[in-house]
């Protein structure tokens, strides 16, 4: 195990290696874990994943560079991902992206100088019925118009939520949803990685 990782993440790494018939399969979840340890998919992170899985560093690098969610450079505490694919485009996603860029003061692909907010456009987020769709640290908001998008950025800047909760953001800023979400959840994201234990960044609070 990688000795400088948190005890919790060391345990998770072992669980991940045990979850698959062949340990190379754990490369993807371990990349999330390593990204959590290092803040992004750094060279050290990739070396550690190679050591854990028995893949070469070059192989891990080839994997990491294939997927858009493995960030090879630090991103903000809040990663704001704006869907600009077809259904969201038809419902004004380009204006939403422009409003978010303007309010955050950075362009698509950039991070604010204080390291708080990164803005990016992404392909279809699977929320087309609630277009336009935006997510923060992969927690989704549906039916987010331009004005509310600005409010979202202000809120992230001012309220600095420790845990990003989709249901909370949907209630504060969202509109039409693709379907009834059902009861609200108390699990959310604590960093700009998908909040899914045991794969990496996990939940912040139990339900």
């Amino acid at each position: 195990m990688i000795s400088h990782w948190s005890h919790e993440n060391q345990q998770r790494a072992q669980q991940l290696l045990d979850a698959y018939p062949e340990k190379q399969s754990a490369a993807m979840p371990l990349l999330y874990l390593a990204a959590h340890e290092h803040g992004y998919v750094s060279d050290d992170a990739m070396r550690e994943v190679a050591a854990l899985t028995g893949l070469s560093s070059a192989q891990v690098q080839a994997v990491a560079s294939f997927y858009t969610m493995y960030k090879r450079a630090p991103v903000g505490r809040y990663l704001v991902s704006v869907c600009t694919s077809i259904s969201c485009y038809l419902r004004g996603a380009d204006d939403v992206l422009a409003a978010i860029e303007d309010e955050a003061g950075v362009l698509d692909g950039e991070t604010t100088p204080d390291g708080e907010i990164s803005v990016e456009h992404v392909e279809c987020s699977g929320a087309c019925g609630g277009a336009p769709a935006v997510s923060v640290n992969w927690e989704l908001i549906e039916g987010l118009g331009q004005d509310k998008a600005r409010d979202l950025i202000k809120w992230l800047r001012d309220a600095k939520p420790a845990v990003v909760l989709g249901d909370e953001m949907q209630l504060l800023f969202g509109g039409r949803k693709s379907f009834d979400w059902g009861p609200p959840e108390k699990e959310g994201a604590i960093v700009a990685l998908p909040a899914f234990a045991p794969y990496g960044t996990a939940k912040a609070e139990g339900e």
Binding site: S25, A127, G166, Y199
Partner: protein
């Protein structure tokens, strides 16, 4: 309306019990895991396969392949075998698996358990796109509950049958929805499609026989086993049996997920189910089955039936069941550009026609949009498309390892077929006479 549109199967629990349809308690309360119990106690694995065959269910992931037939391709003697559930759902316009995972995860878990028993699988995987942490959390919780209740794990319900289920998160790559790319990704490699054959049923995960099925396909299995394959086959037209969840999006009054029985017309689906066009505008065109599908237009297709075969016979596909509706305010070049940009971004880059062709199509559409289109661009768009998919026929001819490349030509061919005058009108100085002259020359020019 002549067709019964009420939801019967997949959405009934979440519609009746919106507060807790995702919990084990509610699932058990509404008859959950009874079909699995019946299968384990009263049916042989081959009896379960026979019911699935009898149901005539066809895959809901995009290719509409008959599930029972696919299951029959497994070589009889090789073990282990794997079952991999495709929850990568990234086809623009599609958001049904997300709902099934969040709102009724036990329905899928029971489907996985029954299918694994039928296929003699002891380790199943669910590949969920990385952008879906909430659906993954909901499913993982359901799996944990199922282990605790003895529906997963060792010696399930005293039957001697063992099953483990592992949830695997993707990391942002549409191409991983293609089944062989998905398997590469699950093996810890780049998500690049493999040449078929061998098909996954013969040589899949870790080169072992593997069945890949979509989340929605497998969510139907508990109902099929509980009610019998014949009962399922009796719903809807013979070759589009059962219900399916259609994701309606775009310029509709009521976008959303709707469980329908095949056979209604597009007019009924768009105006009755989807509520019609927002602000009572005119319908201009729609994509009948996800970003990869050639478009339909009201003058030709509004009164054709929504079935797998009718859509195919009309030159498109039902695909993932995603209907993207465009009203008369839509700039079709803008819409096509947005679709092509997606494919260009998502091309894995292995095949030259796909990698280069999608980049070219995007660039040409982009300059037309920006007002810098050239007269020869009309011919060039068709020529580049023809290089990716020779003949521009449907179903598309393949020069590539997977169908992503040919899919990228669908929006281009669609706007050239139905809205050519609008495309031409966006190119400065292009009169119709000039356009035809330019087209005659463009065949040679397209190569550079």
């Amino acid at each position: 309306m002549s067709v019964d549109m009420t939801s019967k199967i997949l959405l009934s629990r979440m519609e009746s019990y919106p507060a807790d349809s995702h919990t084990l308690e509610r699932y058990l309360d509404t008859g959950g895991y009874a079909a699995f119990r019946t299968a384990l106690e009263k049916m042989k694995p081959e009896d379960v396969v026979a019911e699935v065959k009898a149901s005539n269910i066809r895959g809901r992931g995009g290719a509409s392949f008959p599930t029972g037939v696919k299951w029959g391709f497994l070589p009889p003697d090789t073990r282990p075998r794997y079952l991999v559930i495709n929850g990568d759902e990234s086809e623009p316009g599609t958001f049904k698996d997300r709902m099934l995972l969040e709102r009724d995860p036990h329905q899928l878990v029971e489907g996985i358990a029954i299918s694994s028993y039928a296929l003699d699988v002891t380790h199943a995987f669910v590949y969920i796109r990385g952008e879906y942490p909430k659906p993954a959390r909901r499913l993982q919780r359901a799996i944990d509950e199922a282990y605790e209740a003895g529906f997963l794990g060792e010696d399930i319900l005293g039957s001697g049958f063992d099953l483990d289920v592992t949830v695997h998160l993707g990391a942002g790559a549409y191409i991983c929805g293609e089944e062989t790319a998905l398997l590469s990704s699950l093996e810890g490699r780049r998500g690049e499609p493999r040449i078929k054959p061998p098909f996954p049923a013969v040589e899949g995960l870790y080169a072992k026989p593997t069945i890949v099925n979509n989340v929605e396909t497998i969510s139907n299995i508990p109902w099929i086993v509980a009610n019998g394959g014949a009962e399922y086959a009796a719903i809807g037209p013979e070759t589009s049996s059962g219900t399916r969840v259609m994701s309606l999006s775009g310029h509709l009054k009521n976008p959303g997920d709707y469980e329908i029985v095949a056979g209604m017309t597009w007019r009924e689906l768009i105006y009755d189910v989807g509520g019609g066009i927002r602000d009572d505008r005119e319908l201009k065109a729609w994509v009948p089955g996800g970003a990869s599908a050639p478009w339909f237009v009201p003058s030709e297709h509004l009164d054709t039936p929504v079935t797998i075969d009718d859509i195919a016979n009309n030159g498109s596909m039902i695909g993932s069941g995603a209907v993207i509706v465009m009203d008369d305010s839509t700039n079709v070049v803008g819409a096509a550009h947005r679709l092509v940009r997606f494919f260009s971004h998502e091309s894995c880059g292995q095949c030259t026609p796909c990698r280069e062709g999608t980049t070219w199509l995007e660039r040409i559409l982009s300059r037309i949009l920006d007002g810098y289109g050239r007269p020869e661009d009309i011919g060039l768009l068709l020529d580049v498309s023809d290089n990716i998919s020779p003949g521009l026929a449907w179903p598309p001819a393949m020069t590539t390892i997977c169908p992503l490349g040919p899919s990228a030509t669908a929006p281009v061919v669609s706007i050239m077929r139905y809205f050519r005058d609008e495309v031409e009108a966006m190119i400065p100085g292009l009169s119709h006479a000039a356009a035809s002259a330019a087209n005659a020359e463009s065949t040679e020019a397209a190569g550079d």
